[in-house]
Point group: D2
Chain length 404, copies 4
């Protein structure tokens, strides 16, 4: 028998950039008894959460909810709209953009990946991982594509591996300016419901998201918001698909049901999350995350450690990457912090391994949660012998006290 209460004493501080801390109210909701997925109560629940997702994605068009975690929704976006060998254009903002590229390749698509070509003092091997999507590079590439062989442009809204929130409206504009018909697909797995996101207004064809970030649910369900153009493309797309196929799901969703068994208890949580977000108001939710991010960056600045995101115009409101000094193993610090202070931080992924860690500031958090997190980080850095220019916790306190 395994004890499921893992933590020694007190609440664990789960400050990774997702799964995010789940509110008690949502945890209670998902523990309600499972109901008949073909009964009338389920239909009411289904219609409610489907409409709620449209509101959150800011779309009038269908949102598909999968009983599968976020990676599946990436796959769904591609298999529903593309055919084997199709050429797609991606932009390397970090590990998740890279993983999406890898997944697309496994599915038999021909991917081309753009990246920022500057140099970087702190992370010479990953300069592009400190910046957002460069819309001008996409624009230039699309202009070259006279024959419109590029079928889709795929970008990440909030790059979870780096803490960069790209300007999606600019990408749309670049595509429009190039008069290119490619579909625009956007991964907002960690962006949705924490940072502003406008599926319709930004002209996105497929938006991809998951439950375990801004929606504050446990992992396990994921989303595709789909434009009419995407649906049109799905009618001729030839990649094999069944579980992920939009057609049957959208058809049955009209009555609030799914062709197969949905993840009922997570839908309870989704309903509760939608209520919580609506009660607070999305604009307030976004402002709350911006304020948290600013407080955390104030701390990092006080420590005089470089912030992973090198471009202040695309700082993420959801997480902040912190680069550790050369020779300091960021993962050893993370481990020390986890063992001593029961605080989980995000690791440096892919090219960033060992060179940075990530502080999540999303989900069921507040000023004190974040200050506790900063305290855990500061103690851990010091215990690891990292010289800090000043107290990040003090800087964080100053920021939070002065900014309501």
């Amino acid at each position: 028998m395994l004890k499921l209460n893992f933590h020694p004493t007190g609440r664990h501080f789960l400050q990774i950039p997702g799964p995010s801390p789940v509110p008690d109210r949502i945890l209670r909701a998902i523990s309600l008894p499972t109901i008949d997925h073909r009964g009338p109560e389920f239909g009411a629940l289904g219609l409610k959460v489907l409409q709620g997702m449209k509101d959150i994605f800011k779309t009038k068009h269908p949102v598909v909810i999968y009983p599968a975690s976020g990676t599946g929704a990436w796959e769904a976006a591609l298999t529903n709209t593309l055919s084997p060998g199709d050429h797609i254009l991606m932009f390397e903002t970090g590990q998740f953009a890279s993983l999406w590229n890898k997944l697309a390749t496994r599915l038999g698509l021909k991917t081309e990946i753009l990246s920022w070509q500057g140099t970087d003092e702190h992370l010479p091997n990953a300069p592009g991982w400190r910046r957002g999507v460069q819309a001008d590079l996409i624009h230039a590439r699309l202009l070259q594509d006279k024959n419109h062989e590029i079928k889709a442009v795929c970008v990440v809204h909030n790059e979870t591996s780096t803490g960069v929130t790209s300007n999606i409206a600019a990408v749309r504009k670049a595509m429009d300016d190039a008069k290119h018909p490619a579909l625009l697909m956007v991964d907002t797995i960690s962006g949705l419901a924490s940072a502003d996101f406008q599926h319709d207004a930004w002209g996105i064809d497929v938006s991809i998201s998951g439950s375990q970030k801004g929606l504050m649910l446990p992992p396990g369900i994921s989303f595709n918001a789909v434009s009419p153009r995407a649906i049109e493309a799905s009618k001729t797309a030839k990649l094999p698909r069944a579980f992920w196929a939009w057609d049957e799901i959208i058809e049955m969703n009209k009555d609030g049901y799914w062709p197969y068994t949905s993840s009922t208890n997570l839908l309870y949580g989704l309903s509760e999350a939608q209520d919580m977000l609506a009660e607070e108001g999305m604009d307030k939710v976004f402002a709350r995350h911006q304020r948290w991010a600013a407080g955390v960056r104030a701390a990092v600045t006080a420590w005089a450690l470089p912030i992973q995101c090198a471009d202040p115009t695309v700082y993420s409101p959801i997480l902040t990457g912190v680069i550790t000094p050369v020779g300091v193993d960021a993962d050893a610090i993370r481990k020390l912090i986890q063992q001593r202070f029961d605080l989980s931080l995000g690791t440096g992924l892919g090219k960033l391994k060992g060179r940075m860690f990530r502080i999540g500031h999303l989900g069921d958090s507040n000023d004190l949660t974040l200050l506790a997190t900063l305290a855990g980080v500061e103690m851990g850095l010091k215990l690891a012998g990292v010289k800090l220019a000043g107290s990040g916790v003090n800087a964080g306190m100053d920021y939070f006290a002065k900014n309501v």
Copy 2:
């Protein structure tokens, strides 16, 4: 705001053949706070539930746990082992065998479906849906396949749409007797952990299951148990796959992790379910379901309504299908029962629509739960004007009182 407490008063009776009633203990487990999917506690949890699933499947080989519902595990079994256009042999035992066939076709496989060719008095349009897999038909067909073009034989262990539990060992023997190298794939979505199942001993290559039946969890996770031959096949199989790909998952599972975010809170429930099953002992669990099924069949017999399964050697211990008299709409009765008595029964699926209903006897149930169910059914049948030969509830009470 939607109220998530749907039921008027008292506990809802969820007696469909899955999702099954979830024990309170498991509902509490899934409500524990979500943890870091990359932290040490998660690794311990992962290793525990992976080993637990091996025990339940009775296999020494890998079990893959997907953060996706059961239909996905069907897809995974096929995409990992087969190539576009591959020929597979299926057996039509009911709606789920048919749906799996449809899914395979969508994925670009060439399916051939065998079925029992007798006649049936009660359901002339679906004679084969009252019987199990006929191993002799498979044997005969495989013998014809001199060139071994058939790459896989796919059968359903417990056909959820009818209440028939096929003899899988007999299928294996038929394949062995025919000396045919096709892979054997078995859907035991609703069979596992309620009826005996032996992945290794029965020589199965891929077993498919889900969480929301015998494992007594909410829906949302699913399984592939895979033989060495299946893994070998996956190395050359050409159907595109990424989310479902076994290779990376099995690799990372060695340390208890997954390549993407697992459905953490359902894994808590899985751990708890494994503990509950182990505490009781699997043989007792199977015997319990057999006894329940016998009690329910005693009731149906007393009503003098035909049991969907026409072959007593393959009665399902998990659910019992009941055929309604000609001219009586089974779904109208189900609706009446749901509205008047807060009892959910399974509908007649596909060819059976309106002609039968299904009583689930699995999950968190006991004698009184089932007698309450029988009472709800008996009242509903009478209210709908169906003439009954006797009281099924009395017959059920007799059975349960006499058989400990």
Copy 3:
């Protein structure tokens, strides 16, 4: 380590006359994190539940909520209003009236207990335990009390040990007709929120209740509804009291607080219970219990076993006592039923020990719950060799099917 999941498989059937089955919604509410009993949120919660209790007691005057179980509220009613040696008049309707008498005696009061003086065929040693409060006997006794030495008349509204719901308005009328100034105290521990109760309209001075019956909460909190006359009496009453003293509690309740730490998590449940009752409407709640009781009595009548309550005008809507044949040990049957069918029934208390059992039909129940209960009882009676005239379950089904 003790496993807190006591039951072998399936839901336990808790059909004692309280603690009653607690709705899942309430169980989730009481599991929310505890808050500061001096903070603003607590004040809002306090004001809400206090007002809600006034609505349920149908009073405009204070209701005191104790962080203590029901027996404490009995003591509170007496110690707040009476002085050592005071003479009080009680009426023996069953075990709880007797226990209240015993408690009053321990507190130093002089009690006089009236009882019905007829004879009874089935329970010759407890004839009065089959009937309600006889208002005419109270009237006659009060007329004799020219000097008004009797300070209080104490009666039980719903006698939990027998299944009799006395007419409280008739008691009030008897007191008025006798022009007697005694206080009227009514124990409605098991009556409130299941049977109609009108603290103000019935001229009650102190009503006593608890959480674990009609309010569908776990045990742990209890109530005194107090009239202005009762408060006036408390100013001169001399029994020592501190924890139970109304004065400080009522004063602090004005802002929603208590002088000491309240049972916060049970107050969460109380708030939820009040919402549930208000959503359904109290009249529907009462009608629901009346219908349940009629269905259960139909079963007992079919068995041809005597109902404990011999007077149909005071049948309890909350529980039904069933007398077992002479020579049959009711407790042995209860034990057998508990062990075989995981069903808890109420025992015969005091004078009724071994001669009867009680079926609770309150709390989170419905038609099927009660039919399951009747099935458990019927099987148990038969297994114990009791001859039954017919099937109570069938009679219950007939009743529930015909009466919506």
Copy 4:
């Protein structure tokens, strides 16, 4: 309908000295379905928690568990052992000692209260509220009591209003040295299970405690640990008692039951709490609280604010009182902190009103919880214009980082 999720976003920080933060594991336990208080499962639960409480009180003699909050257990200690007009000696260590005195007076006892008679710079009106019980004063008073009119000595172990943990063994020694037969009664409501406590070894006759502090449960149940001498005294004690009477409870406890309905769901939590404490080991639990307290005091010292407890030998491991500068309203600061940072602190009670606040460091806490608390306090003090000598948070981080 009142929303029971009171807090805006993130976890509330409940850092009052009780009710303490309740572990998630306990919250889940108390949400399990209520069982029959007369059934076999309840008996097993009862025996387990009763034995568990003996282990925690470190006694071989009975522990009485009341379904009532802590104030009731005070009353129980007195009413079971004393007679009207009995003379008892108390010691004024703070508000709770004063309230116990008031309660005793209401019950008709003649109380005499000793207090420290020195002067105090910071709190001239409450010098004794900054120190522990002075055993020498008790010794001197008992020596004067030649006729042994003093029937009981009542002291508080951990004074929740001040943050002082008195030396109970010294009190026992003073009584022994004076050869005085008075009973020794000790309130360890907030001390038990956080600070060492030895009912038998310290020769205590009645120990009083509650659930909502070191036991980490919600409020609602409370305890009397009773010595053979106390039981002997109860046989002749004449204060009226019924609900609180030990005799019937201890008798029925032999089988794990209570004479009336216990607070079942809180007993689930108690069982879980006992398991958690036993898993960690009581000595580690005590050391953990000592370390927390030292870290918090390091912060207060860095701010250069006076600690309420003026005697370092009796610093409480459970809470720390902080005196605010003259002219600064401590309650205004608490309110500001609660509103801005969702952090609850304890108020200054009685004589301390407005002059101090209390930081609880007990229950489900850890280093980061406490650092968050210190951050909330530090920001609040600064926002209120209080000049601080240095950063308490930094001092706390230093302490926690250096001391494992």
